[in-house]
Amino acid sequence: MSFDLSSLTDSLNTEFPGAVKTIIEYRGETTLVVLKEKVSEICRSLKDDFGFTFLADLTAVDYLEVKTPRYEVVYHVHRFGPEFDENIRIRLKAEVEGKEPTIDSVTPVWSGADWLEREVYDMFGIEFTGHPDLRRILMPDDYEPFPLRKDFDVRNREASKRSFEKELERGTE
């Protein structure tokens, strides 16, 4: 099974017009910047039609004051080859604007996206519509800020302390 990137992008573009915005090749890795509104359908197509059955990673990057839209949600999708050297991995990026950031969830496509999306929500505050259980995962439930945003100071322990004290009072009751 050989892999042809241009046929993949062509097919995606005919199915969803304007789906692939840009293709970046860097250090031997392929990045497709895709249309945010269509991300769930694109992923579905990648999985069903092109065999990308494995979601290697899902994360986000905050480009505050660097560029707009502010966030990028990054997907690393992987296709197992029949032979070891035929494995293919590509990166998808979807740009999400800064005010009330939302994007479609890909949990229906890969159930492994569940915790990864929860982590992105926890750290960046990006809402995933269609996610079955979008709660904080690493920080306490009553924690307010989103720590990995660029406008959050790494040493800001106020919110953590507040939730700790609340928890302590609850324990001594």
Partner: protein, 161 residues
């Protein structure tokens, strides 16, 4: 404690002591640690209990995972604010008298994690008896800390000369 085994007294000898120092003597040689391991230091703590370093030589091998049965809490590993309330509650559940070892830089003062989630030293919410530095400290250092606790127990309540 004073030991007397003069033949005048029948040869078997006797020991003079106070109840307190007798109890302390027993306590110090049969510490029941409660390993509160969270991170990297917990692995070194397992090393302390395992084959090579073998903490049983100091009478402290009965690791109790229930705080109700323990008298020495070894806090090893980073304590985050989310974990801190759990840590405090477990400390509160331990019966008196109790001692705490803060093992590793993270428990002593946050270590390398000067971040939004990490408590900068467990003495923010717990009384600590012995601090052990290192990231993670070597098992010998932990054994030394246990010996310091033993020393502390031995001297507890002893008259000040």
């Amino acid at each position: 404690m004073g030991v007397n085994s003069t033949p005048l007294l029948g040869g078997d000898g006797f020991i003079t002591t106070t109840i307190e120092s007798f109890a302390n003597w027993g306590r110090k040689n049969s510490l029941w640690p409660m390993p509160f391991g969270t991170a990297c230091c917990a692995i070194e703590m397992m090393g302390v209990f395992a084959s090579r370093f073998d903490l049983s030589r100091f009478g402290a091998e009965v690791a109790r995972f229930s705080p109700r049965q323990a008298d020495l809490m070894i806090v090893s590993g980073t304590i985050t604010y989310k974990m801190a309330s759990v840590c405090r509650r477990i400390y509160d559940q331990m019966p008196e008298p109790k001692w705490v070892i803060a093992m590793g830089s993270c428990t002593c003062g946050g270590g390398p994690f000067d971040s939004y989630a990490v408590v900068q030293g467990i003495d923010e919410f717990l009384p600590v008896d012995v601090y052990v530095g290192g990231c993670p400290p070597r098992p010998e250092a932990v054994i030394d800390a246990v010996m310091k606790i033993q020393k502390k127990i031995e001297l507890q309540g002893a008259p000040v000369v």
